[in-house]
């Protein structure tokens, strides 16, 4: 039940990513904290969230370019944690792959949504002036696709946990997570350094 609630809440928060508001409700640190709270580990949820967030924010969504989805990345990582002895290391990296995978789904979604243009044009030619319902359907599609994708990934990696959850892999991904933190921090440092030097 917690999995369904978590995925449903994160699918609503994910709308803030592109579709509605864009006031950072979908930021992974917030999603991670909220879902971590629901699932009983807010600190771990926050750590997964903030690391995912800094990783994802390295990509700039200029001109509608799809970027890895941090909301689903941290949501999946959190709901998978119980299958990996409540450790964050392996689920965090699964989350990053899942987030990148979802960016390809988003490309398909945006391509499919082009079909809405035909529907609206046809309506206008018939003097039926309505747009609001298309916006509504589009949001519903976003939510449904997110939940279905989330469930498939959850099912797949909870089953794979029998093979992936080992001391060796936990050690590998623990060190990788520390390394990822320093890669992100140094990447941000040089990014801002370049921005400042370009401005001078």
């Amino acid at each position: 039940m917690n999995v369904f609630i978590s995925l449903f809440i994160s699918s609503l928060l994910n709308l803030d990513n592109t579709s509605v508001f864009q006031i950072l409700l979908s930021r992974p640190s917030f999603t991670g904290f909220a879902l971590g709270w629901i699932n009983g580990f807010p600190l771990e949820g926050f750590i997964i969230g903030i690391l995912t967030e800094l990783f994802v924010y390295d990509f700039v969504p200029v001109g509608g370019v799809p970027v890895p989805n941090g909301t689903i990345a941290c949501s999946i990582a959190i709901i998978l944690m119980p299958y990996y002895d409540n450790k964050i290391y392996i689920p965090f990296f699964i989350g990053l792959i899942v987030g990148e995978g979802f960016s390809y789904i988003e490309v398909y979604l945006r391509t499919i949504k082009s079909y809405f243009n035909r529907i609206i044009e046809k309506r206008f030619m018939e003097y039926k002036f309505r747009v609001g319902d298309i916006i509504f359907y589009s949001i519903i599609i976003d939510v449904l696709v997110y939940i279905i994708y989330g469930f498939i990934i959850y099912w797949l990696f909870s089953w794979l946990s029998h093979y992936l959850n080992s001391n060796y892999l936990n050690s590998v991904f623990k060190f990788s997570m520390i390394g990822t933190f320093f890669i992100i921090i140094s990447s941000l440092f040089f990014k801002f350094k370049t921005q400042v030097s370009k401005n001078e």
Partner: protein, 263 residues
Amino acid sequence: MNKLSLTDRILIVWRSFFLQAAFNYERFQNIGFLFVIFPFLKKIHNDQAVLRNIFLRHLDIFNTNPYMSGFVFGNIIGMETLKEDEKKVINIKQALACAFASIGDRIFWARLRVITSILTLLIFFIFYYFSSTEYEIIALSVISPMIFYAFFSVYIRWVGLAYGFKCVGERNCGIDKFNWNRWIKLLSRVGFSLIVILFLLSIFLYGYLYINYGNMKDIFRYISLPIIAFLLQRYFRRDKKSIFYPVVSFVLISFIFVLAGIW
């Protein structure tokens, strides 16, 4: 409709939150754009045939930064109110969309959003050891920068709308409202200062937590981790490769080092 009432402004800003709801690769934010100005066009034009042509015209390609869209909405609603020439409306709409996309992307996506994350981590690092409950400090570190960002983003939409409506029909409408370059420079400097503080604090906490105890192997392991991370980052980012490259390389190195018993 000579001026926008408070209700009109609230309605436009509210609808502008849905600008990207039907984002598509054929015409980007066109459906969202039409959704925002839809009730106003219906108010302005009574003739069904004219209305249809105007709707179809605004269903054309549109893409800008969502936070800066207020400037475009204000201007276009103003021009439609004055029943300006079709070509002029299209030209100004596209010119403003491009200009504000560039400004908005640089301010919000490349700077302010990242600064919000850095602030979150800084607040968490600084206050974590002083707080009695982790819930409180996480909530504070996540929500306070978020409120700041959300307030600023809504403020820009609100101000942009009013300003766009005021300088209706001008090609550079709103571009002179703020000294955008100054804002961009300032945000770059703020971001750089914060990341320097975060970098130093992270190194200090990391050393305190991992390097000041244990045997030589542990100390070697925990000193080598950030050094390898840094070198990988420099190697791949020099060629502007995605951040996935250094991260995946680090995972591969971890596989080998753990297997060989070095880490």
